[in-house]
Symmetry: C2
Subunit: 324 residues, 2 copies
């Protein structure tokens, strides 16, 4: 049974990864009925190819026909299956340039990193599949509880989390900050699709730039940052300067809500994924993750008054809440 | 819990895939104690890199320290974890040139297939991880039961199955036939390592070549063929001619023992993986798999007297036994 389950997970993840490569992500959303023709048009690909792909999804139980002839929609368990697929898509596909060139990286890390970069879109999509059912709800619960009216999301990627936060409350505004032009462009498109474009600003910037120009975080009640701070954590002074700017931008009682990874988490349910995450960052990206205690210390060193952490957001991840 | 399990499987598969990319396959065999230095020497990679990798495997529970300081070995459940990893490694890594270029394939299948070929080594390694605990035992049971003294394995890859068959009985001889030069070279190395080199011939050949020159199958009591006949099944005349040559080479009572995939198998435990397997072959390789009934018919049409099939060798696969 366990082997069948590994085969099932592998098959579902591969089929959904093919779907995103084909440009069918937005068609394959739960609650979105579609036809072969509408899917082909949305993705800009041939109808015959879409028909073969959708027939396969139906055989795998990932889409189901509706009562209307020729109209399909995602299966009732689609969101859960896609969540599981996220771990496989991130580990094996988003990281494939690293995994498949592991030997080369071992002899020349920096040179290999230049020649074999990860694809930002694949990283963002698989991270969203994982995040939507793990750290997104944890972060959104915190922002809802805080009553924040202006939220800035650092490393916002395609904007998924911030859009959900804006949808929680129609009076909220927000800023999505991301270093990647393609992520920012995807965030603008997604905001328009979700009807929150006029409340969401998108700023293409590395988070380090907040040190010299904190304009994007001005007026924020809550600053969120999911799996982005570990990119700057190597450089103590830089990291502290960014965190300090965030603290200074917040009002008293305002908070940073941060989801990020810790080094080699030891829980039985998380040790394997955490080992992979820690190793990939260290061996391939020269990013050495802090322990949970070291993360807490960084927020305190930046002047936050109250700092706490929570486990069980996803394997190897922790939710940090740092209050000014 | 299920999500944790997807994360676990993703992590283990990615770590083991990195191991094979690093050249550590033979070091990471159950029952093979190793040190950082011996592993680094075997793979020809730097010791510091091996140390970081092995530390990660230990954190993930895939290797354990032995009573001798500095000596590690694979964990007791390593073979089972590697088997599960096989499905992920095959689906997402061995097929990554197809998956990651799915959109391009949809517009120009033949052109894309030339530019984005799969890596034969990755296909062979992941297939072995799957096969060792599924169709290998099923095929080996049949060859053992038949009392065969000479076995020819078509599409033998790195020779794993044939080597096990030769190890079952020291009086047996065998021939490994494979189209791939690198697979044949790996088979020779593996045969030497297993101490069966003088009983195992390796022939670099496409199986179609048996039609004009059946020399490699002469004298065989059993001809095995695992997941290779589907490569020629498109061409009815060609397939029948190959099967007929095999029948003619066998003595009365001799058999072909074939593991292969059927189109869209419907069992609840196999439908997802079978859907992926069927779709990948059709959409990316223009191979349209036969149904179980069509497979049986092909063996009968080639003149085999008794033909039977068995399910549950692996998701979407069937074991066919065709007796002359």
């Amino acid at each position: 049974m366990k082997n069948q389950s590994a085969a099932d997970l592998a098959a579902v993840a591969t089929l959904l990864q093919i779907g995103t490569e084909l440009g069918l992500d937005h068609v394959l959303e739960p609650g979105n009925p579609f036809t072969i023709a509408s899917a082909a048009e949305a993705a800009g690909i041939p109808k015959a190819g879409v028909a073969a792909y959708v027939e396969t999804l139906a055989a795998a139980g990932l889409v189901v026909p509706t009562d209307d002839a020729g109209v399909f929609c995602a299966s009732p368990d689609f969101a859960e299956r896609r969540h599981e697929a996220g771990y496989l898509a991130w580990a094996l596909t988003a990281n494939s340039p690293l995994v498949e060139n592991a030997r080369e990286f071992m002899f020349d890390r920096a040179g290999s990193a230049r020649v074999h970069p990860r694809d930002g879109r694949r990283v963002a999509v698989s991270s969203r599949w994982i995040g939507e059912r793990t750290f997104y709800p944890a972060v959104l619960n915190r922002t809802r509880a805080s009553g924040a009216s202006r939220i800035v999301d650092l490393g916002a990627g395609a904007g998924g989390l911030l859009i959900q936060a804006l949808q929680q409350d129609p009076s909220r505004t927000g800023v999505a900050v991301d270093i990647s032009a393609s992520a920012c462009s995807a965030a603008r498109t997604a905001a328009a699709r979700a009807g929150v474009a006029e409340r969401m600003e998108v700023v293409e910037r590395p988070i380090e730039s907040l040190i010299d120009d904190p304009d994007p975080i001005k007026g924020a009640d809550v600053i969120t940052a999911c799996f982005v701070l570990h990119d700057i954590v190597q450089n103590d002074a830089l990291c502290e300067a960014v965190l300090r700017q965030c603290r200074d931008a917040l009002p008293p009682g305002g908070a940073m809500v941060v989801a990020d990874a810790v080094s080699f988490a030891g829980g039985e349910d998380e040790r394997r994924f955490s080992a992979l995450f820690t190793y990939l960052h260290a061996a391939f990206m020269e990013i050495f993750l802090p322990s949970e205690k070291e993360w807490l210390e960084k927020f305190r060193a930046a002047g936050f008054r109250h700092v706490e952490s929570h486990a069980e957001i996803l394997p190897g991840g922790r939710l940090f809440v740092a209050v000014r």
